[in-house]
Symmetry: D2
């Protein structure tokens, strides 16, 4: 897809680490980071497309963007009360799948966690009714081609 | 409803407290108890009705049994690794709502947490399509009238 | 305690309902409301005392404010993408315990959920090392006596 | 480490997918899989070492086995009520870190999710008090060398 514009859009959102996010070691229970990243991906698309997820899924006639592969690397733990920021961006759009990267930054700018996701643009087939991947519309890739 | 049989059925299930259930104080983060109790209510109905929730909701043509009021009293905390048991019973059936009680018992039999729920038997109206309460079928109350 | 000032301080915080907060019925899985209320109580004390929980627990030499009794009434469900607000206040201070009320308001001002909590001001006994309730300092009750 | 025995121990545990594990698409909210895998790793070590985590961390004088890198691939979704099994094994022990693999199998044996973890054997330095990686004791690697 030589003429697909490169995604450059970045979204950053502040997150407060809550008591309930943390485990007996006093640090974030790592599955909670994946929940934070899931919300960050939704917020990233909301910001790029200018409408909330519940509307853009309808607008594009899709069921959602389910995860097929995700990974996280944990560099520095966060504790409750910490004010962190999550920076998220799409790093690649393919025909019907795409990659997202998240960087959780501590208050002093240190990289705390890196997250990687591969998701699929997913719709219900109009004829068969089966759930299947669908081509990502140019309207989407264009929205992410702008800072 | 003078002829409704009194519910006497009791269900008990073992629960292992996981690391991820616990907070920085090293004890169960209390919202997790509500999730455990929700699973216990499902298990209570599964056991009384002899089929899993995904089947009995279809069998009775309901959408579910949403919560309208719940309360818990915390007596003794549990820590990760603890083996506890949750004892659950329906304490009252009314026309379309019912009450559930849960007792979380520590390994030595101490009462750790009490839970109380009021839920509604909820269906979609065949004519209007609106979600509304529905009468609890005698088949259900009878199933709970047996030990 | 006739001379204890009445608590009047109210804290309101916006909450976005995330996809991961919701269940297969498409509405908030109710244990999540308790986690939101727990974060709201922390935010209420942070705002009244002018410092984050991790600091005011140290400042007052306490271990925390564990829950002994909590209840919620569910009036109107919330779905993912909903922007709600949680209004929280202390309704009563006693010697070493206190009550908190939360009102989750939908975007149109409708009352979605009410939450009630009783918590205990909890410290480690300097002599015995045992965890026990402790008197709530006047500095705290005074901070809540101002709007 | 040419003489370190190859880990062959496998642990399998049944898991029931709860209503509260699932999202508005009716399938498991993927961060919940990581919480299930975390509990599976604890259960794997419990089974291999013959004591619960709260005891083997004390026995070996460690703080825990924090995650540094984890990944999951999602092949087939699970819905509430599903009875699945998680098969877990250590695939490699190094000086102070090790890898774990999880395979979540559906009732019909289909591979639903694969999980990969790298964790570190972590202790507090006796002299400096700092948290640092520690060598994995032969007692541990030997326990995993037996089926």
């Amino acid at each position: 897809m030589p003429d697909m514009p490169a995604p450059v859009f970045v979204h950053r959102r502040p997150v407060t680490i809550e008591w309930g996010d943390c485990d007996p070691a006093g640090i974030v229970f790592y599955p909670r980071y994946f929940a934070m990243f899931d919300a960050s991906t939704a917020a990233l698309f909301d910001a790029a497309l200018g409408m909330p997820k519940i509307r853009w899924t309808k607008h594009f006639g899709i069921l959602g963007i389910p995860m097929v592969d995700t990974r996280a690397k944990f560099h520095v733990p966060s504790a409750y009360g910490d004010q962190v920021a999550i920076e998220s961006r799409v790093t690649a759009f393919r025909r019907s799948s795409f990659d997202v990267e998240h960087r959780l930054l501590k208050a002093d700018g240190t990289l705390g966690v890196e997250g990687y996701e591969t998701r699929v643009w997913t719709a219900r087939d109009g004829e068969t009714g089966r759930i299947r991947s669908a081509p990502i519309p140019p309207e989407v890739t264009k929205a992410f081609a702008q800072e």
